[in-house]
Amino acid sequence: MSTIPVPAPSTGFDWKSLINVVELAGNTALTFLIPGGAAVAALAASLENAINPLLQSIGTKPSVATEILTVYATIIGILTTLKAQPGLPATELATIDAYMISAQNGTATYIQAQSGYNPANYTPVTPIV
């Protein structure tokens, strides 16, 4: 029965400001993939197709959590696509897996923070030595 457009609930956060962030993630990936030649042209196109819906969705969906999680999903998606390329050395596969675990942990931590404020989540990190 509801035909009246329902505005997304306001969170007070300017989500559209993140669009260039996502574009940056996509462009970063494409920058390093396109020099590979014609073999990666289809890969670049598939990445673009994967990222464009994300850009279009920002600011139109009521679930802001979905948008942020998609940033990690984009990282995971790009790495998954890279991992599927034939002939990757074992060291690169291991690096891809490492970053994927990092993105997964980032997602898990993000979701965990939905259950309540935890000051331990904001304690300083130390440098990587």
């Binding site: 790495l79 939905q114 990190v125």
Partner: protein
Amino acid sequence: MKLRDKNALHFFLIAAAFIVMFTPDIVGCATATTPAVPLAPGYINSADQTMGQILSGARGFYSTVQCETQGLNWSQATNLCVADPNITTPLVLSTTTKAVFNDFGVSLNATNQVYLAYHAGTATQAAAQAAVTALQAKQNALPIVSGVTQ
């Protein structure tokens, strides 16, 4: 009670039941409101919660990379690096990549300070949002893909 009174009573009861049955839909169509997203305990408002979640995620991401350089995984429960059978070799970061990640860590710490000030009511939401957005940009510019394809 007269017959006419009984009919009137029946009509009234049926009408009342009709109203009770269909009022929610009628009201729903008229207002078309969206249920408010519940605020998790401890956050001061939804923007506080969203920024808190983003920063928590960023911390989990950075901490995991840090632990992986030691061949370990990061435990959210203990906030420590722990052994993980899925991680068999340390993640090797080039000098350049390590510097970029460490710069991200410094920015994460600085952003957390602005966020904590906002959470405590001593910084504006605009300041916190600007810091979080800048950190997100820095996180997405991390040389993850280049590190793989170099």
